[in-house]
Symmetry: C2
Subunit: 252 residues, 2 copies
Amino acid sequence: MRPMFDPVSYAPAYLRVSEAIRTRILGRELREGQVLPTETELARQFEVNRSTVREALRKLESAGLLGRRRGGKRLIVTRPTREAVGGGLSQALTLHRARVVDVWEALQAVQPGIASAAALRRSPAALAKLSACANRFAARSGEREATVTDVADFFDALAEAGANPVFHLLNEPLLRLLKPSLAVIIDRVPQARVRIGAAQVAILAAVKARDAKRAAEWMTRHVRDFRRGYEVAGIDLATEVGEPPAVTSAIS
Amino acid sequence: MRPMFDPVSYAPAYLRVSEAIRTRILGRELREGQVLPTETELARQFEVNRSTVREALRKLESAGLLGRRRGGKRLIVTRPTREAVGGGLSQALTLHRARVVDVWEALQAVQPGIASAAALRRSPAALAKLSACANRFAARSGEREATVTDVADFFDALAEAGANPVFHLLNEPLLRLLKPSLAVIIDRVPQARVRIGAAQVAILAAVKARDAKRAAEWMTRHVRDFRRGYEVAGIDLATEVGEPPAVTSAIS
DNA sequence: CAATATCATATTGTCCGACAATCGGACAGG
DNA sequence: CCTGTCCGATTGTCGGACAATATGATATTG
C-alpha cells in the first residue's frame, strides 16, 4: 500500500548549519575568496556549539566549497577545483566498478565534441597552450609517467580551449581514470608515441584552422587508436579502473 | 626562480583519520553495507578524541562514502549515489558559471554516445523500463514539473540501458541542470511535447532494434531540437545555470 | 511458537570548557 | 628593505558530560 505519510524528516544541527552556509555560497551571497567568520563567531550566530560548527565546516570543506590559502588558518569561500571534482567523480566511478572499456567509451563520446568546441572557440592563448602541450609530448622520450601526463595535459588544454566549463570539468575524471591504462600502453606498444603525436599534430592543426569537423574526426580516430592500443598491449578491457591507493592528498 | 624546497606538508588529525578510512573503503577492505565501528571505538583505535573522529566522519559522509540506513544511527559504508555525485557536480558547475548553452553542448556530445551504447547492450528489462518512460511521457498532459521529470527519466533510463556506469553518472548532473530550462520550453513551446514524444518513440524503436547508428542519429536530432526550443522559448543561451536555491536535502 | 511489548544498554548528537600551536599583524632595529 | 620579536586571535585537539534514541535482549501475550 502506498504510505499515507512521508517519513518525518529531521536533520542534525551540523547538517542544518552546513546547508545554511552552502545556500549562501550557492546564492553568491558569500563570494569566492571571501573569508568566513571565525568558528566562534559562527557558533554564536547559529546558536550552536563550536564543535557543531566545525562538523558543518568539514562537510563544506570536503565538498570543495570552503578551503584555505596554503598555510592559511582562516577558511575562505572557494569553488570546487577541477581536481577536487574529478577526484570525487573518479572515486565514485571506482566504487561503481567502472571498467576500462566504460571510460574509453565515454571518452569516445565526449572528446570529439570537445575537439570541435575547441576548434570553434579557441583563443590565441589557448591555442598556444595546446601547441605547447603537443610540443612537450613530441620532445619527450622515455619517462613513462611524464609522457602520460603530457597526453592528459593535451586533452585538458583542448577542453580548456573549448571554453566550456562542463567539458572541462567532465574531462578531468575521465583523464584521471585513463592514465593508469595509458601508461601500460605507452610501455608496451612501441608505435604508440608516434601515433599519439601524429594525432595531436592533426588535431592541433584543425583547431588552429577553426575546422571543427576535421578536429572532431581526428579526435575520433585518436580515441579509436587507444582502443587498438589496449588490444595490442593486452589490456583486458573489462579491468576495473581504480585509482592507485594513497594517491590522495593527506600527508603525515 | 624555481623554489628549492617543496612546502612542508602537514595534515590535521581529522584529515589523516578520514584519509585512512577512505583508503580502506577505496581498497575494498571496508565493503559496502558494512557498519563502521562506533565513534568511540574509532577514537580509541586512532588514538584521537571522539570530536576529531566525528570531523573525519563528516568529511566522508559528505563525500558519499559513508551513510546510514533511514532512521539508522550507526554509519555504514556506502558508495556515492548517483544523486550525491550529480549534486556535487551540478553544484560545481553552477559555481563555475556554466551556461545553458554549455550544458546543451555537453548533452549534444554525450547523448548520442549513450544512445548507441543503449542500442548495443540494452537488456530486455532495461528496454521495458525505457518503454515505460516513453509511455509515461506520452500520457502526461499539463503538469510541467512532472513532464520535465518524465523527460529526464527517459534520458536516465537510456543511460542505464547502456550499462556503462560512466555514462550513467555523468548523465545525472547534466539532466539536473537541464531541467529548469526544459521546464520553460515545455511551458512556452506548444509543439515541444509532440516533438519530444516523437523523438522518444524513434529512439526507443532504434534501441529495440539494436540499431546503434539510428539511435545516435535520432538522439542527435532530439538534442538539436532542444536548442531550437531554447530559441523559440526565448531563453538566453548565455543564462547561467543554477539550481533553484534550497533544493537541497536538509529540513528543519 | 510467533508476534509483540518492555526494558536496559550502547551510541550518537550536542554542549561546555580548556589549552597548545601558530597565523597575522604590529612594531622595532639593523 | 629585510629581520627579529612580540601579542592577540583563531584553529586543532582534548576531556568530560548528558539527553535522546536506536539496538538488541528479554519478557509477555495470543
